[in-house]
C-alpha cells in the first residue's frame, strides 16, 4: 500500500523492519544450532589434526620417513589412486594420508602407508573387506575380520580408518615394521569403535574366520541389496557363502525376497525345488551353483553360489536358526 504521495505509511515500514529483524534472528538461531549440532555430532575420536599428529609420530624401529605426509581429499584423490578413486568417494571417503618409510639399514626395504579416513566404520569395513586378498594371512593381535597380511603388505580397518601398508619386498624386517606401525596406529586411537551389531549374527564353529564382507550397495550384483553382509561357513568340508541384509520391516524383507528371486530368474537362473524346512524359502539353479533366499523377521538371508546343494541346505537351515534367535533376542529386549 502506498499513500497518495507515493510514500510508504510509517507503520508499514516499522512492521517491515520488525519482520526483517525477526527473520534475521531466526537465521542467527539456525546458524547457532547448526554449530551446536556439529559439535555434538562429532564423536570423541581423532579428527584430521589428531590423526596427522598420530601418524607423523609413528616410527617403527629401524625405519625412517623419507617423504612428507601427503593428504588427499575427495576432490583430488584421483591424483593418488586414479581409477580406484571413484570406489572410495562413492563409499564415504573423507581424506587420505600417505607417506613412505624406509629401512635405515637397507634402502630397498620400504613401505608406503595409506590411511583412508572413510568417515564411518561401515564405510571403512566395506572398502577393506571387499578388497580382501584371497591369500590373506593372520595378522597377529588383530581380529581376523579386521586385519590381515599378504607376502608384502598389511591391511587393516580400525574404526573409521582403512589402512594399507604396502611393502616393497618379502622381508621379515619389513613385515615387523609394518606390524609395529599397525599396532601403534590402533593403540593410538583407543576410542575408535570397530565392529557392527550385525556381526554377532555370524557365529558358530563352522564360520570361516575373517570371511565377513560388507557391501553397502549392489551386494551380490543385485541393486536391491544395500547394507548386505556375507560370510563363509564350512559345512561338511564345503565352503558356502551366506548373506544377510536387514530391512526396516518384515513386509519389506518379504518383498525383497521376491525381487531377488525374480532377478535371478531374469538373468538366466532356473527355479529349483528343494526340500527346505524354511517358510517361504526359494531356491534357484544359477548355471550350476545353488542360490537360496528367504526372510526371517526383518532380515533377508540366503545362500550365494553354493557348489554343493546339500551343504547349501544345511547352511540355510543353520542361518535360519541363527536369525530366529537374533529376532527373538531383539524382541525380548
Amino acid at each position: 500500500m502506498v499513500s497518495n504521495q507515493g510514500k510508504w505509511p510509517r507503520h508499514e515500514s516499522v512492521i517491515s523492519i520488525f519482520l526483517f529483524a525477526v527473520l534475521f534472528l531466526i537465521g542467527l538461531v539456525i546458524i547457532s544450532a547448526q554449530f551446536d549440532f556439529r559439535k555434538n555430532a562429532v564423536p570423541a575420536v581423532a579428527g584430521p589434526e589428531d590423526i596427522h599428529e598420530l601418524i607423523s609420530g609413528i616410527s617403527p624401529a629401524g625405519f625412517k620417513a623419507i617423504s612428507e605426509i601427503e593428504e588427499y581429499n575427495a576432490d583430488n584423490l584421483y591424483e593418488k589412486i586414479d581409477g580406484k578413486a571413484p570406489y572410495y568417494t562413492e563409499t564415504g571417503f573423507v581424506k587420505l594420508f600417505t607417506r613412505w618409510l624406509v629401512s635405515e639399514s637397507d634402502e630397498n626395504l620400504m613401505f608406503e602407508f595409506y590411511v583412508f579416513d572413510m568417515g564411518l566404520f561401515a564405510n571403512a569395513f566395506c572398502v577393506y573387506s571387499t578388497q580382501k586378498r584371497p591369500d590373506a594371512q593372520v595378522l597377529p593381535a588383530f581380529n581376523p575380520d579386521f586385519g590381515y597380511r599378504t607376502e608384502n603388505a598389511v591391511f587393516f580397518v580400525h574404526g573409521k580408518y582403512y589402512v594399507e601398508l604396502v611393502g616393497s619386498a618379502v622381508s621379515g624386517e619389513l613385515l615387523a615394521a609394518q606390524k609395529d606401525f599397525a599396532g601403534k596406529f590402533r593403540d593410538g586411537l583407543p576410542d575408535e569403535k570397530t565392529g557392527m551389531p550385525e556381526f554377532s549374527i555370524f557365529v558358530g564353529e563352522n564360520l570361516v574366520a575373517g570371511s565377513i564382507k560388507l557391501y553397502l550397495s549392489a551386494g551380490l550384483g543385485f541393486d536391491g541389496f544395500d547394507n548386505t553382509l556375507t560370510a563363509v561357513y564350512k559345512i561338511d568340508d564345503k565352503e558356502t557363502t551366506v548373506f544377510v541384509s536387514r530391512r526396516v520391516s518384515q513386509q519389506q524383507a518379504k518383498e525383497l525376497v521376491e525381487k531377488y528371486y525374480e532377478f535371478l530368474i531374469d538373468v538366466g537362473g532356473k527355479n529349483k525345488e528343494l526340500d527346505l524346512p524354511i517358510e517361504g524359502a526359494k531356491a534357484v539353479d544359477f548355471y550350476g551353483p545353488t542360490e537360496i533366499v528367504f526372510h526371517k523377521g526383518n532380515f533377508v538371508a540366503g545362500i550365494h553360489e553354493a557348489e554343493d546343494e546339500a551343504a547349501a541346505v544345511k547352511a540355510a537351515v543353520l542361518l535360519n536358526d541363527i536369525l530366529e534367535k537374533a529376532n527373538h533376542d531383539e524382541q525380548g529386549q
Binding site: Y78, I81, D82, G83, A85, P86, Y87, Q131, E151
Partner: protein, 331 residues
C-alpha cells in the same frame, strides 16, 4: 476514501513504474551486450588448437599383431617385434621416437601398477641400435608429481641407462585438441609438445585389472596424455578410452602380460594381486592387442564396452584372430 485510494495506483504512478521497469531491462541488456564476445574464440585460441599427428606405419597383411609366450620380457619384446618385421619396419634412421609408458603411480615396479622399466629400456635400446633413431624420448603425465612417479617406478633410471631422454610434463607441454565426432575430447588439453617433435609413437602398458574400466591396457594408457581435471572422464570411462584410441594413432603398441594384475587394479598393492601369464603382445592395431589382452584377465573382449566402441570408431578390430596373430614361444 483514503483506503480505497491506497489500494489503487494512480496513472502517474503506473507510468512511473513502467518507465523504471523498462529502464532496468534496458540496463541489463546493455550490460549483457557489453559482456558479449562477438568474435567467439579468439584467433590465438584457435591457433593453440592442435591435431595429433598420425604415427602409424603402412599396414602389412599378416604382420599386424604378434603374441610371444615367455617369462623374459626383454627377449619377449625382441621376438614380438621381430615377428612383425623387426624394429626397422617401424623406426627409420634419424627418426625421433616418443615412448609413452604407463607411469600413472609413484609405485615400485614389483607391484605391476606401472610399465616395467626393463621392458621400456629394451625398447629404447632397440630403437637406437637397430632402428638407428636420432632421439628416443620417454614421457607420460602422471598427475601426482611426475618426477616421483618416474623415479619410484624405476623408469627414470632405466631410461637414462638405455640412453633415452625423459620428458617430464610442464604446463607449456599441453595444447588443446578436439576429436572430430567425439563427445568427450572437445577442446581438451593433451600432452602435445613431445608428440609434436616425434616421427613415431610407441605405447607400452601392462595388462591390469581396473576397478572402473574392468581392464587397463594399451588404449587406457593414452589416458596419461590428457591434461586438466581428467578424472571427470571416469564417469564415462568406456567412451573416453574409445575416444582416446580414435585420437591417438600409434606406430606400435606393446602390451605386457608377463605379470598381470588380476585384482584390486589399477593400483594393486599386494604381490598376490599379480599372476604370471608370461605373454608379450606387439601390435599395430591397439584394439586387437587389448582384445587379446582382456583374455589374460579372464575376460571376454565383448565384456569390455570400450573395445566395441573403439572398433565402431575405426580404431581397430576386436576380432584379433582375424588378423592371424603371429605366435612364438621363447620358454
Amino acid at each position: 476514501m483514503n483506503k480505497a485510494n491506497d489500494n489503487n495506483l494512480t496513472r502517474r504512478q503506473f507510468v512511473a513504474r513502467v518507465v523504471k521497469a523498462g529502464a532496468s531491462v534496458a540496463a541489463a541488456g546493455i550490460v549483457a551486450g557489453l559482456a558479449l564476445d562477438k568474435e567467439g574464440p579468439s584467433a590465438q585460441a584457435q591457433a593453440d588448437m592442435v591435431t595429433l599427428p598420425d604415427f602409424s606405419v603402412p599396414a602389412q597383411d599378416g604382420k599386424i599383431i604378434s603374441i610371444v609366450k615367455g617369462a623374459d620380457r626383454e627377449r619377449g619384446v625382441n621376438k614380438a617385434i621381430e615377428l612383425l618385421g623387426g624394429i626397422e619396419r617401424f623406426i627409420k634412421p634419424d627418426d625421433t621416437v616418443v615412448i609413452k609408458p604407463n607411469v600413472a603411480f609413484a609405485s615400485i615396479p614389483a607391484l605391476g601398477a606401472t610399465a616395467n622399466p626393463q621392458l621400456i629400456a629394451e625398447v629404447v635400446r632397440l630403437c637406437y641400435a637397430r632402428g638407428r633413431a636420432r632421439r628416443v624420448y620417454v614421457t607420460d603425465n602422471p598427475i601426482n608429481d611426475p618426477a616421483s612417479c618416474f623415479a619410484i617406478s624405476g623408469i627414470a633410471k632405466a631410461v637414462e641407462q638405455a640412453g633415452g631422454i625423459l620428458l617430464l610434463p610442464k604446463d607449456s607441454s599441453f595444447k588443446t585438441t578436439t576429436l572430430a565426432g567425439g563427445r568427450l575430447i572437445n577442446n581438451w588439453p593433451v600432452l602435445y609438445e613431445p608428440l609434436a617433435k616425434a616421427d613415431k609413437l610407441i605405447g607400452i602398458a601392462p595388462v591390469k585389472d581396473h576397478s572402473r574400466a574392468m581392464a587397463s591396457m594399451s588404449m587406457k594408457n593414452w589416458y596419461g596424455l590428457l591434461g586438466g581435471r581428467r578424472n571427470v572422464f571416469h564417469q564415462d570411462i568406456n567412451t573416453i578410452i574409445a575416444e582416446l584410441a580414435m585420437l591417438v594413432k600409434p606406430t606400435l603398441v606393446i602390451l605386457d602380460g608377463t605379470e598381470v594384475m588380476m585384482t584390486n587394479g589399477p593400483t594393486g598393492g599386494s604381490f598376490s594381486d599379480l599372476k604370471r601369464k608370461d605373454t608379450i603382445i606387439a601390435s599395430c592395431d591397439q584394439v586387437a592387442a587389448d582384445a587379446f589382452g582382456s583374455t589374460l584377465l579372464g575376460l571376454r573382449p565383448d565384456s569390455l564396452p570400450y573395445l566395441a566402441k573403439a572398433q565402431a570408431g575405426g580404431a581397430g578390430t576386436t576380432d584379433y584372430m582375424s588378423l592371424k596373430p603371429l605366435m612364438a614361444d621363447i620358454i
